[in-house]
Symmetry: C2
Subunit: 452 residues, 2 copies
Amino acid sequence: MAPQHEPVVMIVGGGFGGIAAAQALAKAPVRVVVVDRQNHHLFQPLLYQVATSVLSASNIAFPIRRIFRNQANVHVFNAEVASIDCAAKSLRLTDGNVAPFDYLVLAAGAGSSYFGHDEWAQFAPGMKTLEDATLIRDRILRAFEDAEGETDPAAMRAHLTFVVVGAGPTGVELAGAIKELGVDSIARDYRRFDAAGARVILVEAGERLLPSFTPESSRAAREALERIGVEVRVGARVTDVFDGGVDVSGERIMADTVVWSAGVGANPLGRALGAELDRSGRVVVEPDCSVKGFPNVFVIGDMASIRCAKTGQPVPGVAPAAMQMGTFVAGIIAREASSPGAAPPREAFRYHDKGSMATIGRAKAVAEVGKLRFSGLPAWLAWLLIHLVLLVGFHNRVLVFLSWAFAYVSFTKGSRIITGDIPSRIVRPLGNRDGNDPAERARSMALLKGRM
Amino acid sequence: MAPQHEPVVMIVGGGFGGIAAAQALAKAPVRVVVVDRQNHHLFQPLLYQVATSVLSASNIAFPIRRIFRNQANVHVFNAEVASIDCAAKSLRLTDGNVAPFDYLVLAAGAGSSYFGHDEWAQFAPGMKTLEDATLIRDRILRAFEDAEGETDPAAMRAHLTFVVVGAGPTGVELAGAIKELGVDSIARDYRRFDAAGARVILVEAGERLLPSFTPESSRAAREALERIGVEVRVGARVTDVFDGGVDVSGERIMADTVVWSAGVGANPLGRALGAELDRSGRVVVEPDCSVKGFPNVFVIGDMASIRCAKTGQPVPGVAPAAMQMGTFVAGIIAREASSPGAAPPREAFRYHDKGSMATIGRAKAVAEVGKLRFSGLPAWLAWLLIHLVLLVGFHNRVLVFLSWAFAYVSFTKGSRIITGDIPSRIVRPLGNRDGNDPAERARSMALLKGRM
């Protein structure tokens, strides 16, 4: 077969699943095309550290094409998929290009779900992208800045109240990190209020934190959070989110900053496939991760709804599962491309659970590895080690390590930069920024006369 | 005098001038209030390295209140000034607050000037803020990404053409850095074009590069730039800037990316003062940096138009001059606050020119210190050393150094992240992103069929 007829493997999404699939095809006789609408792979497990100023965006994001610089059979396109035609084996990009494929691997991840209340998104951003994390960082830092200039006690309380909705690993890690930001890092930077006294409220609809962990780990996480001062509310339902606060189980909590880490939502690419979806909007796939009726179309990672062929348990939406699925489907494709028409029958996907962990602030964590459960400093050191190892191949490892070391040794955060709200290309005209009535808000600047 | 009657020194702007003034008042019997609409001090001389992916934003930006953490008489507000009443000794913030002062130090810097063509700003962003640099970085990286997916030769040329308008230090440094980005760092990441062949055109209306340097240095800079492949056009007038290109001295140059580093513009705060302005819109100040008729109102740094009392030469708009003015007016204020009514008469400001330098790509620079002129590697090492020393007190020095070391040793850039164009708070609906007619732009994805 002439080289120009090598099958084209189209991988949509440069997350953990897509990258793993492309890397596992390095020696296969195929052309790999990775399409992503971002130019970077995002190390999502550390996103909450960007949101809380420990790391900067470029510490956890890596140009996708850089990752494949030395893998000659990979071609990277920075583009967005508009529609997929499984029968015609082609997809259309939003720029109008039509891209044919022989195999398709859909690995585009999941979005946030607001359970039918998408209007909440503007008040309570999710934690999925770099832009999300930067926006949340800006809001957190802005709230502290506003508190420094505030004279009204009720408004001051709202500035210094932070609500995190959803107590999976992201919510737990974020709540702990926000509390520590106030306690350790910035308390001495403000003169007019006590940043260490900022309220951080973690709201969870279920009966315990970290529902995917064991009850012991949930308990350990809750104790650790409460010890550093986070208010934990389980069995608490969010009934409304609005500009300035949130309603939780009948109580109105006024808070400038609300973050959403509660629901994982469907990716529209999954819907566009026309395949069966589960309740969370994920694509129900065959045991080999393919779409029913289209054996050359695979869905992996957070987009896929599948049960482990060994345990019968649903495969969780975590990075290791996505990477394992990527490697798994790459194996199928490599075998079929190497022996067209004579490949061995496809196996069913088995998920190898290598454990899970979540950090709670400085030097505390919970970890579950096989039957092992541990928490506290040993779990945190394990967490640190594993995340550094996982950053292998990404040059920033040294910089990330130094950022961490610095943040932990000095109790300060290096990336406390508010961006984006002052888009001054040219000198902006003066005037009232937000259109509020100055007279209404006018307060004599008594604070300058008082003790600073 | 009771402590609550200590004079209030209001400093507007947390740039080099404002920070120097506040620091120099550490031991003065005054209350210092620093007001800035950003929460961070920006190390502007390295902004071009953010625009070209060498450094990340948080490497060169530092929370202002962090700088004054241990200086008890400084109070930092993150707010914007709406108007100033010199006679009433108060200013109004855009949030409606009114702030009285005994001394005012205006150090709010300058903006970009488009010489009456503000509509060019959207096509050719300036290089003043972190947001500017991030936008330019996004455009540069986006142009390379677009080139990788391009089939039309003319469009490809426009993607790979970068025009820098204005050849002061910022323009010279930026042009060299863009060229090096293509040559050294990313050439191997793209499969369908030669990034090293990207055109970088530096346009200067004057007769030579670096007009504030000596002709020898201008010549050395031009030779160094041309040696690495930058096209230099002096005596070239920009007559139009539009979406997709620029008209230069009668020639139309199609380019996705145009950056403006040509003009420094008035700050509206200067206009708001009602004082005399010079042709660039800077406030003409008295020899002691005060505003005529208002001895308690000072204007310093890029906002001020002043001549050195020793040489009679105009003081240039550079960071060292701003810092010297800040220290100078702080000295006046400290003396008058310490001996009310009995302070020595004010002196006139003298500028001590400690030299200037500009880098041209990797390991090349021009420097002028006193009568000394040097260029090449020695100048570059001096540049590196001085900038590291100037970052003193900002903890990121180690990280910045490692980022540089990494970038220079490995020939790659660590911060090549495109952000901002995908503000996906929730999963976005599919569809055509830019409203172009897909049919019109539709091209069969021939590139996937060809050699990758």
